[in-house]
């Protein structure tokens, strides 16, 4: 019998007795402890309590649900709906292109359609679909009851609904964006309508929601694993979630930074992309593709993750080459950030860059190949049954390898000069995305459907759908390789009849409709009522991973008790696991205090750390989403006052939600979670998921900021007149003042946390108030440094980019002030005390990043231009 040896953090001088913060008791559990039977009466009572706590709200209140099983389901269906809608646009475009010189669609409408098709497939389907599926199944993979921040998932989902309807809805008002999903300026800048603004603001809004979901997924994987599931025992899907979540975190912010610059030019005429005033349209291309290329892997890797779950089940053995796959996934993630310029081979980049980016692009073959061959190796070693999901995987492999091989071709810069922006690329990208995303996702839906709904989809319809989709896809897209080589450019609404493209296009259109028929059969199978059908058996595919410990019929509690995991395929390798889970033998089998709770474990070894009380159903998330939507949507119509009001209301909703339901003071210090282990309920600092949420969010935030800083250096290298010789620079004394104020504000916040920890709440209060005053002074100094110097952002790109950095700091200072205010209020109303200080820890963490942002900005504004 081992007792826990959780050592207190020596760096943390604390007034709170350490034993309050740390687990106590026995861990890991011994076989005798696990073998001990559970009293059936107690088990029944526990089940009743759990059921009550986790029950969905009834009636119209159902929509206030926040638990992952509901939000995940809505999210998936919504993303699927957007996919069907974007698919309809594709069909209409194929009708237009079926014959030469067609006038079924006007040029304007065609341009709206292809822009919306690409944008919706990327932003409203591919990325959200990954997040939706992950929200839905990740907790089950990890034996967790829910995601760590259920209301954040709900908030993200409602943002997605509102933003998606806003962006996609524009197509019905003939005012959709029409400059392509890549929105290259100056074309998109010259677009007189509101289409481009809808794209920029609507999709930024959705990107923020995507990042929120990514933060939550990363924290989920790091902190919500079951005890004993060390990081090398995680299901591969969780690894991919970690990698893809990280990629979203670093890939989306550059685009958000780009969107910010773009919208500043459209709304306020700050000339970031205007060559006449020192700007450069190429900056957008860089920022867009620094996002855009990782995006390709962001949608591809999760599907590989699904394959990584299906393949071992089909082969009935553990995956072969687990470490190879993990390394390759991580490698792909890193490499994907070094390839962006291969979308820009024709822009006149220097030969050196072309060579480098060609080589880097080709290098991706290696990790991709390793993953593919590891699956084949698994099939080789095991005994394969050709399950229906495996059929879709096989189709996906056939299509994806073709797309991958054309990818090897186009990665070669000189060949890309021929086929870039031609139908060859249309074929290539659809081969990779259909093979690398659609087919595996459909495989995943067939595979996980019994888990989602406790019913089964039809084997027969599944096969019909597969063959229709597979043949239709190839009929549609295979000829496009040739169409492109015969010189047909992309994004043309019509073409002449005498250059040999007509019959190829006619075939493609036919194929598109066959594909659509296949997708429709699938959609029908997915959505048709299955009321009379019997419930599925519990583990229909005889899989080995934890999600198949689900309850049939459905229970909303996630897992009956959180198991102790010692293997990668617990259902295969831990024989009595299921029966003990069901009996409530494992951890957290009860909800005696009537709260939704899940277990938090350490990041690497998954030792139990504490119990997190997660939030329940709420309307404030929906209101927060609606008002956040307003803050993004009103500026589209240049309604800035309603936007500000809406933003303030969103903030109020979020503060209300944080104040009333997160990090509440528990009624007991520790709770007995079973198997002789007692865990604290309230923790702060790096043990708490909230701290991780803040940390990870701020990494993304810093990436966006770094993109703006990159902009400064980009202009410096790309433009001879940056900064202009006669330009006014920021006034140095005010910059110094800003540096001093921000340093002191940061120090005051930090000190407040430490003295509060040491038990001196009154002194901490003073520190917080001082920080507020100093932040205001710092922000004011920084503002005056530019304003006083008469720097006009509409005059030239130099003052414009300096102002953007300052605006960025000011906005973050405002957030910092709100957070300090939150802590001050907490201190006044007894929410923040030396014992309950999670808020202050998180705010201090934010301040570390804010201080860094402010220092870098002061350097960029004060020193760097004078050295250039």
């Amino acid at each position: 019998m081992t007792t826990t040896d959780f050592t207190p953090d020596p760096a943390r001088i604390s007034a709170v007795p350490d034993q309050d913060r740390w687990p106590e008791g026995i861990y890991p559990p011994t076989e005798e402890m696990l073998a001990e039977p559970v009293d059936p009466e107690l088990c029944k009572a526990q089940e009743a309590r759990l059921r009550e706590v986790w029950a969905d709200p009834k009636g119209w209140r159902y929509w206030s649900a926040v638990n992952n099983s509901e939000v995940g389901k809505w999210y998936c269906l919504m993303a699927f709906g957007y996919m069907l809608a974007a698919g309809v646009l594709a069909l209409l475009m194929r009708v237009q292109l079926a014959v030469p010189d067609n006038d079924f669609l006007s040029a304007d409408r065609f341009n709206q359609f292809f822009t919306m098709h690409g944008s919706a497939m990327m932003f409203l389907f591919a990325v959200p679909m990954f997040e939706a599926i992950s929200i839905l199944i990740l907790p089950a993979f990890l034996g967790a009851r829910d995601m760590p921040f259920p209301r954040l998932s709900a908030y993200g989902f409602w943002c997605f609904v509102i933003g998606g309807v806003f962006v996609f809805g524009s197509i019905f008002f003939d005012s959709a964006p029409k400059s392509g999903w890549f929105m290259y300026p100056p074309l998109s800048m010259l677009d007189g309508g509101i289409g481009a603004d809808i794209w920029l603001l609507g999709l930024s809004f959705i990107e923020v929601a995507s990042i929120a979901a990514a933060v939550e997924l990363i924290v989920g994987v790091i902190k919500c694993r079951p005890p004993g599931m060390r990081i090398n025992l995680m299901p591969l899907y969780a690894w991919y979630v970690l990698v893809v979540g990280g990629m979203i975190l670093f890939a989306f912010p550059p685009l958000i930074a780009g969107d910010l610059l773009f919208e500043m030019q459209r709304s306020f005429d700050w000339p970031f992309f205007d060559p006449a005033r020192g700007g450069d349209p190429m900056l957008w291309q860089h920022l867009f593709w620094i996002f855009g290329h990782p995006e390709v892997y962001i949608i591809f890797l999760p599907s590989i993750a699904i394959a990584a779950m299906v393949v071992p089940t089909a082969a009935q053995i553990p995956i072969w080459g687990y470490s190879w796959i993990v390394l390759s996934a991580v490698g792909t993630g890193f490499l994907s950030f070094g390839l962006w310029a291969h979308h820009m081979f024709a822009t006149g980049l220097p030969a050196m860059s072309l060579g480098f980016f060609s080589a880097a692009s080709e290098a991706v073959v290696i990790p991709t190949g390793v993953q593919l061959f590891a699956f084949m190796a698994t099939l080789m070693v095991g005994r394969v049954t050709m399950l229906l999901p495996m059929l879709w995987i096989a189709g996906g492999v056939a299509i994806f390898t073709a797309g991958g091989l054309t990818g090897v071709m186009v990665a070669l810069a000189p060949f890309d000069w021929q086929v870039h922006d031609s139908y060859f690329i249309v074929a290539h990208l659809h081969y990779t995305i259909f093979g690398g995303m659609i087919f595996p996702v459909v495989a995943g839906i067939y595979y996980f459907y019994p888990f989602f709904t406790k019913k089964k989809m039809s084997e027969k319809l599944g096969r019909i759908s597969f063959w229709l989709t597979f043949t239709g896809f190839n009929i549609c897209f295979f000829p496009m390789h040739l169409t492109g080589l015969k010189g047909m450019p992309r994004r043309v609404f019509t073409y002449p009849g005498d250059i040999g493209w007509d019959w190829l296009n006619a075939i493609s259109t036919f194929g598109a409709f066959v594909t659509a028929a296949g997708i429709l059969v699938f959609a029908w199978d997915l959505l048709r009522p299955k009321g009379k059908q019997p419930l599925t058996e519990r583990n229909p595919w005889n899989a080995g991973t934890l999600e198949w410990s689900h309850d049939v019929p459905e229970e909303f509690w996630g897992v009956r008790s959180v198991p102790h995991i010692t293997s990668r395929y617990p259902l295969w390798q831990q024989p009595k696991l299921l029966e003990r889970m069901d009996a409530g033998r494992y951890y957290l089998a009860d909800a005696e205090f009537g709260h939704r709770e899940t277990l938090i474990t350490t990041a690497i070894d998954a030792r139990p750390q504490h119990i997190a009380r997660v939030t329940g159903p709420a309307w404030c998330t929906i209101w927060a989403a609606i008002f956040t939507g307003g803050a993004f949507i009103f500026p589209t119509f240049h309604l800035y006052a309603p936007a500000l009001i809406s933003g303030a209301l969103a903030l109020a909703c979020i503060i209300w939600w944080l104040w009333t339901s997160t990090a509440q003071h528990p009624e007991v210090v520790k709770k007995d979670v079973g198997l002789g282990l007692k865990l604290p309920i309230y923790v702060s600092g790096s043990a708490a998921p909230g701290w991780w949420g803040m940390f990870i969010t701020m990494l993304g935030d810093m990436t966006a900021f770094a993109s703006l800083v990159f902009g400064v250096f980009f202009y410096w290298t790309a433009r001879p007149d940056f900064p202009p010789a006669a330009a006014a620079h920021a006034t140095l004394p005010w910059v110094y003042a800003a540096v001093i104020c921000y340093t002191l504000a940061w120090a005051a916040t930090w000190a407040a946390r430490n003295v509060n920890c040491a038990g001196n709440a009154a002194r901490a209060f003073q520190g917080l108030v001082a920080a507020v005053v100093l932040t205001i002074a710092g922000a004011g100094s920084l503002f005056w440094a530019l304003w006083g110097a008469g720097m006009d952002p509409t005059e030239h790109v130099y003052p414009a980019i300096m102002w953007v950095l300052v605006v960025w700091v000011l906005a973050h200072s405002l957030a910092g002030l709100v957070m300090l205010g939150f802590c001050i209020a907490g201190s006044i109303f007894g929410r923040l005390t030396p014992r309950y200080d999670a808020d202050l820890w998180n705010v201090t963490l934010f301040w570390h990043f804010l201080a860094l942002t402010a220092f870098v900005t002061c350097t960029m504004v004060g020193a760097v231009p004078r050295l250039m």
């Binding site: 290259y184 074309l187 061959f373 590891a374 084949m376 060949f415 043309v492």
Partner: protein
């Protein structure tokens, strides 16, 4: 035996058919220049490799999932991951990069002789020929002519939005970006007409921004350049003279230049030798009187978003005269 011969005939037929299918005035696979030729060869080589690798991978997948009678040893699995995932792709990709990148410098080699500057406009091409040592360019539009057997330098610019200059039969494309000057070069080997098209989405009528590249023998090219350097000759017929008057009175000269007349507009294409071009409205209409009249009457109907206003108020006779005048600008 008969079956084999039949297969042979079908195979040969299919091959001929597919090669014929690759032809076309805008095809990258029927090259008429050195760059396109090298790239087409590169493509055929890569295609053969790709087909072989595809068959290998998918054959193996099929074998493993459908045919294989029993489980295979673990050592084979390990070898598959390392061999198939690391060793094989590393060798193939290294070879491909060495070959593929080695052809790059030639593709962008510096050209000699007359330099051609092309400016992308919405949605047409402004073309300036700069003979060696010239102080002023020879202005033309919507068509380029190149001497065969020489590498010509091409300078690329854009007026308002990004375009991309692409003549697949002669070589790869290069973007035209406002505020930047890009360069490329082309070395046509065979005379003839090659169709090109804007390859970067540039707004409403992106699909209708094409141009012909006419490759001439060097001596014909020089003679032609000499001809278009001259101003337009005076209208020869009575009708054409009337047309010239219509041209000036309707204010066409505000946007279009006809060298040798009062028309000196710079907004639209130069029309000095309009009738000597192989096509009209940036490669989308044949150079016929009917097409010209239709274009002048309502450009927006032919090219949505075109800046040129419609002249549907012209009387039939005026239009006939105008067309006759323009048709005479050889």
């Amino acid at each position: 035996m008969i079956a084999r011969r039949a297969f042979g005939v079908i195979g040969l037929g299919a091959l001929t058919l597919s090669l014929a299918a690759c032809d076309g005035p805008q095809s990258a696979l029927s090259p008429g220049g050195r760059d396109a030729d090298v790239l087409a060869s590169l493509f055929w080589i890569m295609l053969i490799g790709a087909v072989a690798i595809w068959l290998l991978i998918n054959g193996l997948f099929f074998f493993l999932t459908r045919i294989r009678p029993r489980a295979m040893p673990r050592r084979a699995a390990e070898a598959l991951i390392i061999g198939g995932g690391i060793v094989f792709p590393t060798i193939v990709v290294a070879g491909l990069l060495t070959y593929g990148l080695s052809i790059m410098p030639d593709q962008r080699a510096v050209g000699k002789g007359t330099r051609i500057e092309v400016v992308g406009e919405q949605w047409w091409w402004r073309v300036h020929y700069w003979p060696e040592g010239a102080d002023e360019p020879i202005v033309a539009a919507n068509e380029i002519r190149l001497p065969a057997g020489t590498r010509s330098e091409i300078t690329l610019k854009a007026a308002r939005v990004i375009h991309s200059f692409w003549i697949p039969g002669l070589g790869g494309k290069t973007d035209m970006i406002p505020g930047r000057v890009n360069r490329m070069s082309l070395e046509p080997t065979e005379t003839g007409t090659y169709r090109g098209q804007c390859a970067e989405f540039c707004g409403d009528s992106h699909a209708l921004m094409a141009l012909n590249a006419v490759v001439l023998r060097p001596e014909s090219f020089d003679a032609w350049l000499g001809r278009i350097a001259r101003p337009a000759g005076p209208p020869e017929t009575e009708l054409a003279r009337k047309g010239a008057a219509v041209f000036l009175s309707e204010g066409c000269g505000a946007c279009h230049a006809i060298r040798g007349t009062a028309a000196a507009g710079r907004l639209g294409p130069d029309l000095t030798h309009l009738a000597s071009r192989t096509s009209l409205a940036a490669g989308i209409l044949d150079m016929t009187p009917e097409a010209l009249a239709a274009w002048i009457t309502d450009p927006d109907a032919i090219k949505p978003g075109a800046r040129m206003p419609g002249y549907d108020h012209l009387a039939q006779a005026e239009m006939t005269a105008l067309v006759a005048y323009l048709e005479g600008l050889e």
